[in-house]
Amino acid sequence: MSLEYTASEMMSITAARALTNDMTCFVGIGLPSEAANLARLTHAPDITLIYESGTLQTRPDVLPLSIGDGELCESALTTVSVPEMFRYWLQGGHISVGFLGTAQIDRYANLNTTLIGDYRAPKVRLPGGGGAPEIATNAREVFITVKHSKRTFVKDVDFVTTVGFGRDGKAREQVPNIGRGPTVVITDLCILKPEPGTNELVVTALHPNVTREQVIEATGWEIRFAEALATTPEPTSNELEVLRDLKARTHAHHAGQ
């Protein structure tokens, strides 16, 4: 008998499964934080989670609303200054995975969180880079999780805030001391990975009951599918229960209850 779950739950659970117990993960706020803490509360209890506010090895009971909620500091092994965080721990090479969300992503996994439209006359002004530009190049690899839609998945981003593989797919070639870049993108419809050689994102697995047409419809370029296209395993009842508890606790906490 199969369980009832939403596409968002499928996305968070699939993203959580990408993380393993031995990783040191630099966590972005929002969907990455939800997935990373779900991993910690299920199959990866010893995963090291690090937030850019300087909290090292943190174990929050509720998901933080901001990157620097008190919960993160109080449940951390230790808290360091922000320059130390970026210089010693990230740039110094101690991060195995940077886990990021985004507003726009293109076929070479470049991320735009700066603006839609022209820089000097933006149609929509977005928050900006934050920690992402250096997380994406200094972490050994990068995971991305974002909801799939034509507005988000565009052929070319309006602005490269954070490099994936550049405008031509080759931005990391011949650059010393740079991580592998994005290795997986997890959406509410599927899993995408950069194709060896071209670095263009291709679909490697569809979530259960999702069709190729749905993915084509939600992607702003001619998306390709891997020859050996897999189906993502369904969530387990334990994963769903832990995720729902975590979200309910979080909601009650931030509403001031």
Partner: protein, 271 residues
């Protein structure tokens, strides 16, 4: 030694029209009470520096205090946009502002370089990003030893820094606990500094490696209980996440914002 002043005196004495001001606190210890005092004193043409402008600069920009903003992430954390910042950037209300944007790593390094008395900061950053195309402060240099191409940004040297901290002792030494962010660096990088504190105590009870700023490194101290709210002060009160969520509705509309500003800032004096 630091002068003990009222918040009103500290702001009127040390912050002038046209100054470059850094008001820091990485989500934690954001000096809101001081920001509101700057709004009440109608100080104008400020160049505001903060890694995350947060609600404090959204309020100051909406109140017309800023002519320029230097920042690295301008959102309402976990909620969405800073609508007053967006209105100023997109539509020029209440005045247009110039923006200069960095990444967090670059700004953290720039503050550290300012504290270290250096003209620039060097980092392995901005690789493949379009940010250097729109911010002329971002340059690339070659390492003289290895030849590696590295990013360089000018150090941050504000006229005035304002931070909030947990407490000061009666000599004016200040203790900062929890997410210390870049509080130490931003004070040491500035020509003048104002530190608001939750309370003034006889003994800081600081551990030997605690983050303590000595009195002689600070210009002025003002007691401002709950001075970081709706952000938080570890050990005193929690972040008011519900208010951060409500701010989205308040700030989205110019009139609602102005009513909020009148009732919650102008009609209330400094503590």
């Amino acid at each position: 030694m630091a002068d003990f002043l009222s918040l009103q005196e500290a702001v009127s004495t040390h912050i002038n029209h046209g100054d470059t001001v850094a008001m820091e606190g990485f989500t934690h210890l954001i000096p809101f009470a001081a920001g509101h005092e700057i709004i009440r004193q109608e100080i104008r043409d400020l160049t505001l520096i903060r890694m995350t402008p947060d609600l404090i600069y959204d309020q100051m920009i909406g109140a017309g205090c800023a002519k320029k903003l230097i920042f690295s992430w301008g959102g309402n954390p976990g909620v969405g946009s800073l609508h007053r910042l967006r209105d100023a950037v997109e539509k020029g209300w209440p005045n247009s502002i110039e923006i200069l944007e960095h990444s967090h790593a670059a700004m953290a390094c720039a503050y550290e370089a300012g504290a270290a008395g250096l003209p620039l900061a060097v980092l392995r950053g901005y690789i493949g990003s379009d940010l250097p195309k729109v911010n002329e402060q971002i340059k690339f240099i070659e390492c003289p030893f290895t030849g590696e191409r590295l990013a360089a940004v000018p150090s941050v040297r504000p006229d005035v820094t304002v931070i909030h901290a947990q407490r000061a002792d009666r000599k004016g030494n200040v203790l900062i606990e929890g997410i210390v962010g870049i509080q130490k660096e931003v004070v040491l990088a500035a020509k003048r500094s104002i530190v608001t504190v939750e309370e003034i105590v006889d003994d800081l009870n600081a551990g030997v490696n605690a983050c303590v700023l000595p009195s002689w490194a600070i210009t002025a101290i003002a007691e401002a209980p709950k001075g970081a709210s709706p952000s938080y002060a570890l050990g005193y009160y929690e972040r008011d996440n519900a208010f951060y969520q409500q701010w989205d509705g308040i700030a989205r509309d110019r009139e609602t914002f102005q009513t909020w500003l009148q009732e919650n800032v102008f009609n209330k004096g400094a503590a």
